[in-house]
C-alpha cells in the first residue's frame, strides 16, 4: 500500500532510507523539512520483518536458538544467552557455575563488540570516518575469538539450552587476555579522537535531549536510558547469571543528549572489560552443562554405548525438551537494552507463543520525540547515538 504523507505549506517531504547510508540497515524515516529543520517525521519499520515469533511456534526450543543470533546481529551471543536463560527459567533448570561464568564472558565480549560498532557508526555518521575503522579493527579481534568458540564469527550459536555447545577451547582464555590487554589503547584512541574534539562535541552536545521522565515513559532501556541519568541496569536490578559475583560500575549520563549516549557507551566498554577480566580470574572448573539427559544432549560416546542416553538423544532431537506448561518472562541486559523473552508453554517441546521484547524497537519510539526541531544533519547524529539494529526491531 502506498502511503505518502503530505507536506504542510511550503515544507518539503524527504525520504531517509531504507537504503540511506546512515540508517544502519533498513530503517526508513520520512521527514518533513522546513529548510533543513525537521518539523515532523514518520518512522517506517518492518523492512526486515521475518516473523521470528511465529517461526518460534513451529520448532523446538533448541531449534529456535540460531534464530536469536539474527535478532541483534551485532551481539549474537548475548541474544543466545538471554534466550537460553529464558527457556531454562521455564524448565526450572539451573546451569553449573562454570557455564554461568562462560556465559557472562560471552555477553560482555558481545557488549564490547556491539558498543565498538555502535560508537564507530556513530562517529562515521557525524563525519569521522577514521574512528569507524579503528572501532572495526578492535571488534575484528572479538570476532576472531568468537570463531574459536564455535567456528562461526558472526552468527555463532555457541550457547545451548542447559549449557554450551562445547567447553572453552584451550586457546580462548589466553586469546581473550591478549585482546583485553590491547583494548585500552584502542579505546583511548577513540576517546582521544572524539571526546574532546570540538567539532564532535558541537555536533552532539544538547542534541536530542531526553529527560529522565521522557526516557522512562518511552520505555527506553540500556545505554540510551542510562544516558538520561536513570540508574537501571538489569545486571544489577534483576541479577541473573553470575553477575552478582562481579564488581562493575553502571555509568550514567547527566543530560541525556547525544554526547552523553556516546560517553555512556564508551565507559561501558571499559566496565565490560573489567567484568571479563574478573570472570577469567575466577573461571570455575567443573561441568559446563546440566547433567540431565532430558534437557541437554548426552555425550556422544554414551549415546553409542548405553541405552538411556540413546533414548534421551532420540527424544531431544525428535520432540525437543519437554517443557512444563506455564508462562515466564525473562529479560537480560543486552548491549542495546532489555532483551526480553515471554514464553507461553502448553507443555511439550514447542512454545505455544514466544514474544520477543526487542530493545531497539522500543528505543526507536523516541525518534520522533528527539528529532523534531533539529536539523537534517542532526538526524544522523541522533540515529547514530540511538544505536539500534533493525534485525531486532523488525524481528
Amino acid at each position: 500500500m502506498a502511503w505518502s504523507p503530505q507536506a504542510e505549506g511550503d515544507r518539503m517531504i524527504i525520504n531517509l532510507g531504507p537504503q540511506h547510508p546512515s540508517t544502519h540497515g533498513v530503517l526508513r524515516v520520512i521527514l518533513e523539512l522546513d529548510g533543513e529543520e525537521i518539523t515532523r517525521l514518520w518512522p517506517d519499520i518492518g523492512y526486515l520483518h521475518r516473523g521470528d515469533e511465529k517461526i518460534a511456534e513451529n520448532m523446538t526450543y533448541q531449534q529456535f536458538l540460531p534464530y536469536t543470533d539474527r535478532l541483534d546481529y551485532l551481539a549474537p551471543l548475548a541474544n543466545n544467552v538471554a534466550y537460553a536463560y529464558a527457556v531454562e527459567k521455564l524448565l526450572g533448570v539451573e546451569v553449573p557455575p562454570r557455564c554461568h561464568v562462560i556465559r557472562v564472558i560471552c555477553c560482555e565480549l558481545s557488549r564490547i563488540a556491539s558498543h565498538l560498532l555502535g560508537l564507530g557508526c556513530y562517529a562515521m555518521d557525524v563525519g569521522a570516518m577514521t574512528v569507524f575503522l579503528y572501532c572495526m579493527r578492535e571488534r575484528e579481534k572479538i570476532m576472531d575469538l568468537f570463531e574459536t568458540l564455535s567456528g562461526a564469527r558472526f552468527t555463532s550459536s555457541y550457547i545451548r539450552i542447559g549449557g554450551l555447545a562445547n567447553d572453552l577451547p584451550p586457546e580462548f582464555v589466553p586469546g581473550v587476555r591478549a585482546f583485553l590487554a590491547e583494548l585500552p589503547a584502542g579505546v583511548a584512541e577513540i576517546d582521544g579522537l572524539l571526546t574532546r574534539n570540538r567539532i564532535f562535541v558541537d555536533r552532539t552536545r544538547d542534541i536530542a535531549v531526553l529527560s529522565r521522565e521522557q526516557a522512562i515513559n518511552l520505555g527506553m532501556t540500556g545505554p540510551n536510558l542510562r544516558a538520561s541519568g536513570v540508574d537501571w541496569d538489569l545486571r544489577r536490578a534483576h541479577p541473573y547469571s553470575a553477575y552478582p559475583d562481579f564488581e562493575f560500575e553502571v555509568p550514567l549520563g547527566s543530560v541525556g543528549d547525544c554526547y552523553d549516549r556516546f560517553l555512556v557507551r564508551l565507559e561501558e566498554v571499559r566496565q565490560s572489560r573489567s567484568i571479563v577480566l574478573q570472570a577469567l580470574d575466577r573461571l570455575p572448573a567443573g561441568p559446563w552443562y546440566v547433567d540431565d539427559g532430558k534437557v541437554f544432549l548426552p555425550p556422544k560416546t554414551d549415546v553409542l554405548t548405553r541405552m538411556e542416553p540413546l533414548i534421551h538423544q532420540f527424544m531431544l532431537i525428535t520432540e525437543g525438551i519437554n517443557a512444563p506448561p506455564g508462562e515466564i518472562y525473562f529479560s537480560a541486559e543486552n548491549p542495546k537494552g532489555e532483551l526480553g523473552f515471554m514464553i507461553i508453554s502448553r507443555g511439550g517441546g514447542v512454545p505455544h507463543r514466544l514474544k520477543i521484547r526487542a530493545p531497539s524497537f522500543v528505543n526507536l519510539q523516541a525518534l520522533s520525540v528527539m528529532a523534531v526541531g533539529h536539523l537534517l544533519s542532526d538526524m544522523t547524529a541522533i540515529l547514530g547515538s540511538l544505536d539500534f539494529v533493525m534485525g531486532e526491531c523488525d524481528r
Binding site: S22, A128, L133, S377
Partner: protein
C-alpha cells in the same frame, strides 16, 4: 627563424599551457590515489595496491571505468544546465592556474602563463565560479537530496568567499601588489608571508577547506546525510568531471597557499631565493613549487581523515561570527603596525 622573439613567445605560451594541463591531469588522478593510500594508512588499512606497482596504475583503471559507465540523463533533469554544470566546476581551477607562477624562469621562459597585474583578484573572481557549477548541478538535478546539497554549497561558498578575500588584504598591504609573481618575489627577499601573517594564513587555509568542500566542511556532499549531495544524479564522465574538479580545486587551493604564504617557488637560501638565471635552478624552482603543493595537498587529506564534519548552522556561525570579524580585526591590526613602522 624560430629565434624570432615574437614566435618564441608563442612557443613558450604553448609549452606553458601544455605544462599546466599536464600538471593538472597527472597530479589530480594521483592525488586521488594518494588520498586513498594515505587514508588507508591513517586507518590501519592497506588501500589500493594491486593495480600496477603499489597501485600506481589505479587512477588509469578508475578513469577507464568511469568512461565506460553509461551516461545517464534522467527525464526529470534540466538537460542543458545539468550537462553544463560539471564543466563549470572543473574549468575555473584551470583558469586560476594560469596566473600562478609555478617556477621562476627556465632559460628565457618565465614560468607563469599570464603575468597579470591583478592576478590575485582574477584568481578570487574565477575561483568563485565553481560554486555555480555545484549549485546549478543541485538545482538542475530536480531531485531533493542534490537540491539540499546545492543550496548548502551556495550558502557555504558565499560565506567563506568573504573571509577568503578579506584575509588576504593584509598581504596586499604589505607587498603592495596583487600580482602573484610580485608577491613571490617579495617573499624571496623578505621571507615567507606566513611568518608575518599567521592569522591571515589560518583564515585563508580554513576558508579554502570550505571552498573546496573538504571535511570538515564537506556539507554539500555529506555522504552520511545527503548521501552524496549535488552529484547523486550524475554518472560516467559527468560525475568524473565533478570528481576531477574537486581535486583540481584542491590543487589550485594548495598552489594559492604555496604562492601567497609559503614563498612560492623559492627557498630561503641561495641559489633558490632569487629568480633563476641558469636552467637547472629554474627546474629546481619548479620542483620546489610542486613539493610545497604536495605538502599542502597532504594537509588537505590528513585533515579530512581526522576530524568529523560541522553542522550546517555551525559552519555558517564559524564563517560569519568568527572568521569574518577576525579577518577585519587582522586588517586593522596590520594597518596600525604598518603605520607605526612608517612613522617611527
Amino acid at each position: 627563424m624560430w629565434t624570432d622573439p615574437a614566435i618564441l613567445e608563442w612557443i613558450f605560451i604553448l609549452v606553458k599551457i601544455i605544462v599546466i594541463f599536464g600538471l593538472v591531469l597527472s597530479i589530480v588522478p594521483y592525488t586521488v590515489l594518494a588520498e586513498r593510500r594515505i587514508c588507508a594508512w591513517i586507518q590501519d588499512r592497506v588501500g589500493p595496491n594491486r593495480v600496477g606497482f603499489q597501485g600506481l596504475l589505479q587512477p588509469i583503471a578508475d578513469a577507464l571505468k568511469l568512461m565506460l559507465k553509461e551516461d545517464m540523463l534522467s527525464n526529470h533533469v534540466h538537460k542543458v544546465v545539468f550537462t553544463l554544470a560539471p564543466a563549470l566546476v572543473f574549468m575555473p581551477s584551470l583558469m586560476v592556474l594560469a596566473v600562478i607562477p609555478w617556477g621562476s624562469a627556465i632559460g628565457p621562459m618565465t614560468c607563469v602563463l599570464s603575468d597579470m597585474n591583478a592576478g590575485m583578484l582574477f584568481a578570487l573572481a574565477v575561483a568563485s565560479f565553481s560554486v555555480y557549477g555545484i549549485a546549478l548541478a543541485g538545482w538542475a538535478s530536480n531531485s531533493k537530496y542534490p537540491f539540499l546539497g546545492g543550496m548548502r554549497s551556495a550558502a557555504q561558498m558565499i560565506s567563506y568567499e568573504v573571509c577568503l578575500g578579506l584575509s588576504l588584504v593584509p598581504l596586499f598591504m604589505q607587498t603592495g601588489s596583487l600580482n602573484l609573481s610580485a608577491i613571490v618575489e617579495y617573499q624571496t627577499q623578505h621571507g615567507w608571508l606566513m611568518l608575518y601573517h599567521p592569522v591571515a594564513c589560518f583564515i585563508f587555509i580554513t576558508s579554502l577547506f570550505a571552498e573546496c568542500n573538504r571535511t570538515p566542511f564537506d556539507l554539500p556532499e555529506a555522504e552520511q546525510e545527503l548521501v552524496s549531495g549535488y552529484n547523486i544524479e550524475y554518472s560516467s564522465l559527468k560525475f568524473g568531471l565533478f570528481f576531477l574538479g574537486e581535486y583540481a580545486n584542491m590543487l589550485v587551493a594548495s598552489a594559492l597557499v604555496t604562492t601567497l604564504f609559503l614563498g612560492g617557488w623559492s627557498l630561503p637560501f641561495a641559489p633558490f631565493n632569487a629568480p633563476a638565471t641558469v636552467i637547472w635552478v629554474g627546474l629546481a624552482h619548479v620542483g620546489i613549487f610542486v613539493a610545497k603543493v604536495c605538502a599542502m595537498l597532504f594537509l588537505f587529506i590528513w585533515v579530512r581523515w581526522t576530524v568529523p564534519r560541522f553542522r550546517y548552522d555551525q559552519l555558517m556561525a564559524l564563517g560569519w561570527k568568527v572568521f569574518f570579524p577576525l579577518a577585519l580585526v587582522n586588517i586593522v591590526v596590520v594597518a596600525v603596525i604598518m603605520a607605526c613602522r612608517a612613522n617611527l
